[in-house]
Symmetry: C2
Subunit: 308 residues, 2 copies
């Protein structure tokens, strides 16, 4: 079934202790769609690039059967660009620059074929832009939303408006604390769900993720890796894997969400093992399936015993 | 079966956003033994207190059937005292003071009845003192060891000597990174296990714990709590619960360790809901058992589906 992802397609400048890339393919919509495609043959990208965006980057996506009718090209501006530098322990990152360029005037108009998408992923963008995409996908069964501290701080009203409309919010732990104004994550989750999203996923980087759905809390670790090259895009790849998994589920119940959380975590783990989105380029469903099995071993409490 | 715990019995001054305690009962041996007693009727405490230590605090331990023959009383010195202040988000703590007092001359001589203890817990202490306890418990089936950054930095050789002797090391994530000189936790774990401990547990506070045992990595979250009053002693309560659980296991295999990790995490969760060790005072096995069930729901990936 179909997944639509709106977000950025960008040039990323990335510095980690293990290497450097300049003008690499990046952006939330890039990672989301590359991750969603393993479980969906119908992945619809919505983004804008500028006159400097190379055809070879478009081909990376096209070759992986991502639908690009919604990739707008503005001939009068440059592509959105972001630069970041990771510290020695990779959990700390400094943003070096953020050049909005084409993004400042982004006003997505969805191709007709996109409008019936079943799962809609609103990548981290101005909440007003996210709302415009929701307006054009009224039949979506599930709307997933990402955001960041910038929108929490600068456009709180627009953010509240979109939160009241979406089904599932996916944010990181510091953003959750900031959005709720509450340091305790469980209380923060309760407050955020009160703003609208029935399902809340709190990403914790190397510490995994927590999902709040119905009455249940579900915790997954990050898949343990010895070689992390570049954490860029891990959250977006998680979101794409999560959305892609759900697009194949006939019923979107709590069990489906739990499976999707594991699936998204595993896809994200492949992302960080390489620079930029490269870890997603040649990844296979068999490799994902194998790591899901290992993930189960990592978290399964053996039956028998364990009583108080 | 029997558990021996050596560590501190202390006065703690604790400040959190939710309250303050002065000269509260504290210390690693206090938390370890109070947590171990739920699964063992034979918990042997080894520690030293000074001439200012009140009998009512001794009674807290005695009333809970902890063996106190190994609690030395020095009439010429004061009790070890520690003070700490937690920040608004409880993950940050400043140490206000550490008054070693009796601890500086601690030279434990174990009561005869203690020497056949099956599980030995070396609470965070000078590695030289930990070694003296190991020398007096040659028949222990399992020796668990805690340590901290102070010993990593100031007595690295003594620490390496004790690490080569113990079966299981329990430390937090920043200590693991420092001990191994390696920011990646999985690589750090490999390096530390190379120093001796067959089993390594890395505590991550609100993010749970990772255990490395045999070829397996096992991850548990922290039990999600809305009301955390005081994180003091959570790591020691975890260690005590872990040791207590193992003391009841006929075979100390990887499954037993996994169960013990869940058990220790659950006991620790009760600790942080109250100030100091108060959460352990009247806790029942039924309450622990009930939370273990909830813990299973928190982490169990549903069967069926989840394939790549």
């Amino acid at each position: 079934m179909s997944v639509l992802a709106v977000g950025t397609v960008a040039f990323d400048q990335i510095e980690t202790p293990f290497g450097k890339r300049d003008r690499a393919l990046g952006g939330s919509a890039t990672y989301i769609t590359l991750a969603a495609r393993f479980m969906s043959d119908d992945v619809n990208l919505v983004a804008v690039v500028g006159n400097d965006f190379p055809e070879e980057y478009v081909d990376v996506l096209r070759d992986r059967r991502i639908h690009l009718d919604g990739l707008e090209r503005r001939t009068d501006q440059k592509t959105f660009a972001w630069g970041g530098r990771y510290h020695y322990d990779l959990n700390q990152r400094d943003t070096l620059f953020t050049d909005l360029n084409v993004l400042s005037g982004f006003d997505p108009v969805l191709p007709e074929a996109y409008r019936s998408s079943r799962i809609v992923c609103l990548g981290n963008l101005d909440p007003g832009v996210q709302a415009k995409v929701m307006d054009q996908t009224p039949d979506a069964e599930l709307v997933l939303c990402d955001t960041m501290n910038f929108w929490i701080e600068h456009t709180p009203d627009a953010l509240k408006t979109i939160l009241a409309r979406v089904d599932c919010l996916v944010i990181n732990d510091s953003e959750a604390r900031e959005l709720a104004g509450e340091p305790n994550l469980i209380r923060a989750a309760r407050a955020i769900r009160g703003m609208g999203p029935k399902v809340l996923i709190i990403k914790k980087g190397e510490h995994g993720a927590l999902m709040f759905a119905g009455e249940s809390i579900f915790s997954v670790p990050a898949y343990p890796l010895e070689d992390i090259q570049d954490p860029t895009g891990a959250g977006d790849a998680f979101l794409g894997g999560f959305a892609g998994y759900l697009s194949g589920c006939p019923v979107l119940d709590v069990d489906a969400f739990k499976h999707a959380l594991v699936y998204g975590s595993v896809v994200a783990s492949f992302t960080v093992e390489r620079f930029g989105p490269e870890g997603l380029y040649d990844l296979t469903r068999a490799e994902i399936a194998s790591r899901i099995e290992a993930f189960r071993d990592l978290t399964t409490i053996p039956l028998s015993r364990v009583e108080g």
